[in-house]
């Protein structure tokens, strides 16, 4: 028990003894975890973001003149059965006339003597879909109806958003792996500097009969403490930034960024411990070879 206490206190004291390397190491971990944490928060919220964007996708279908409201309702039901369609809203010629009046303050019948506004149907698309939402086949099926005069949709924009979303998912995973590997190497090299500066200490440990694990443990614990401190600072920074900007994001996009400080702290601390443990173990093991 006293041995464990000694090793723990050595690890803690080393934080103070190796101030410069501790700072460098904590700073590297802090930067890594801030980037990794941002990625994790964004990934976690991406589904909500893409659902939010998909909620804005709309296909506007304008019908030819002289199509009865009953037929339009029937076609609207058929639109709803198309795969990828969430809901449909029919705007009859009468509805269109009312909308015109509410928007322009004039009755269109008084202006042109008849109602030229076509009946239309607004189609909303599904939000919850993991794969890329492809709008083209939906539009093609709508166009097959002979009653349809014109179809308006933001095809290029939707395609861009969907492609970007899929790319983001792939890139974020690759990026996260690269960040973690690079940080292990950075931490390993930082700890190696500490170890070279402490050659005398290691030699003394060896001469008084310390085993390899006894020599390694304080260095690894020191690395783990760096990881925890780096994770705590990164969590605080991300929490502060999100708290500060969430009101702004909400007013701009209507989107609430979903995150919990303790989940974030737990996740980043775990990541910090793993990368600093791997980094310092690698460094001290190579030195003692």
């Amino acid at each position: 028990m006293d041995k464990i206490t000694f090793l723990l206190s050595e690890g803690l004291k080393n934080l103070w003894r190796h101030k410069l390397t501790a700072f460098t190491s904590i700073f590297s971990i802090f930067l890594t975890l801030t980037v990794a944490g941002s990625l994790l928060i964004v990934s976690d919220n991406t589904e909500r973001i893409i659902e939010y964007l998909r909620d804005k996708y709309k296909i506007e279908v304008f019908f030819k003149q002289n199509i009865s409201d009953k037929r339009i309702q029937e076609i609207s039901k058929e639109f709803k059965s198309i795969r990828g369609v969430r809901s449909t809203t029919v705007i009859t010629k009468t509805d269109a006339k009312k909308i015109f009046k509410s928007q322009f303050g004039e009755d269109i019948l008084n202006l042109v003597g008849y109602n030229p506004l076509p009946a239309s149907c607004v189609i909303n698309l599904v939000k919850e879909q993991k794969n890329k939402l492809n709008i083209r086949p939906i539009v093609d099926r709508i166009r097959k109806f002979s009653e349809v005069d014109e179809v308006n949709y933001q095809g290029r924009l939707i395609n861009r958003i969907e492609t970007a979303y899929q790319s983001f998912v792939k890139v974020s995973v690759v990026l996260l792996i690269i960040i973690l590997v690079v940080s292990v190497l950075i931490i390993s090299n930082t700890v190696r500097l500490t170890i070279y500066a402490k050659k005398e200490l290691i030699k003394s440990f060896q001469l008084v009969g310390a085993t390899r694990s006894f020599i390694k443990t304080p260095f690894i614990l020191e690395g783990v403490f760096h990881g925890l401190i780096g994770a705590f600072i990164a969590s605080l920074l991300l929490y502060g930034t999100l708290e500060f900007s969430s009101g702004f994001i909400l007013s701009l996009t209507g989107l609430i960024i979903d995150f919990s400080f303790f989940n974030l702290l737990f996740l980043l601390s775990s990541l910090g411990i793993v990368i600093s443990f791997l980094g310092s173990s690698r460094a001290i093991s190579q030195f003692l070879k």
């Binding site: 006293d2 041995k3 206490t5 000694f6 003894r17 005398e200 200490l201 030699k203 003394s204 440990f205 060896q206 001469l207 008084v208 009969g209 310390a210 085993t211 390899r212 006894f214």
Partner: protein, 217 residues
């Protein structure tokens, strides 16, 4: 007992020891004397298994350099106290912590560590300086601390490599006397020195080494 059987060791760039046959009995106090570069440090490094003979073997207690496994070396070293010319004290911890280090390594309980370190500090007359850091001590005090660190784990053998090398004559004699007291209590001591005047006439065995060869024992 320290036993060297036909031991040879050569460094890549030359030097070392050649064909050394030596036996130092339990409770013996022996001096290893020879000029700088004669192979004294090599012989001591071979004895604490920091180096391994290219030919022959070193046997201390049940530990045989030709058979010992790497992971057993720390346990072997726990039986040996080492004293160096340049002290090897750690500047980032105080005297008490430096002396306590071998006990932490072995796994002593906190209370026993405090008792043993306090006793060792009293034995070397530095009990009032336990909170001092090495760079706040004189050369003689640092070397005495080094002796205390070697002594605190109650070793069977003490290997001392030029422990008086950085000390003035008076302090050097005090250190020799301190080691004699330790030897009287049953610890085997092998001490390397290049200063013949310091060790002559003290009634101890003198082993002379020159150019890596033991000339007289």
């Amino acid at each position: 007992m320290i036993q060297l059987d036909n031991v040879s060791y050569t460094y890549e760039k030359g030097g070392g020891v050649s064909n050394v046959n030596l036996a130092i009995q339990d409770d013996e106090y022996a001096f290893l004397i020879g000029p700088t570069g004669s192979g004294k440090t090599t012989l001591l490094r071979l004895a604490y298994m920091d180096l391994f003979p290219k030919v022959g073997k070193v046997i201390i207690d049940k530990y045989d350099s030709s058979k010992i496994k790497q992971k057993k070396i720390p346990f072997f070293r726990r039986k040996i106290g080492m004293i160096f010319q340049d002290y090897h004290l750690l500047n980032d911890r105080n005297l008490f912590e430096n002396i306590a280090l071998p006990l932490h390594v072995i796994g002593f309980q906190k209370d026993e560590i405090v008792d043993r370190v306090t006793e060792s500090l009293e034995e070397i007359g530095l009990e009032s300086k336990s909170e001092h850091f090495p760079d706040e001590l004189s050369g003689g005090e640092q070397q005495r601390a080094c002796v205390a660190r070697a002594l605190v784990k109650d070793p069977d053998i003490i290997l001392a490599d030029e422990p008086t090398g950085n000390l003035d004559p008076v302090t050097s004699f005090e250190l020799i006397k301190l080691l004699e007291e330790i030897n009287r209590e049953g610890t085997t001591i092998l001490m390397a020195s290049h200063n013949y005047n310091l060790i002559k006439g003290r009634g101890h065995r003198i082993i002379e080494i020159q150019n890596g060869i033991v000339r007289k024992s």
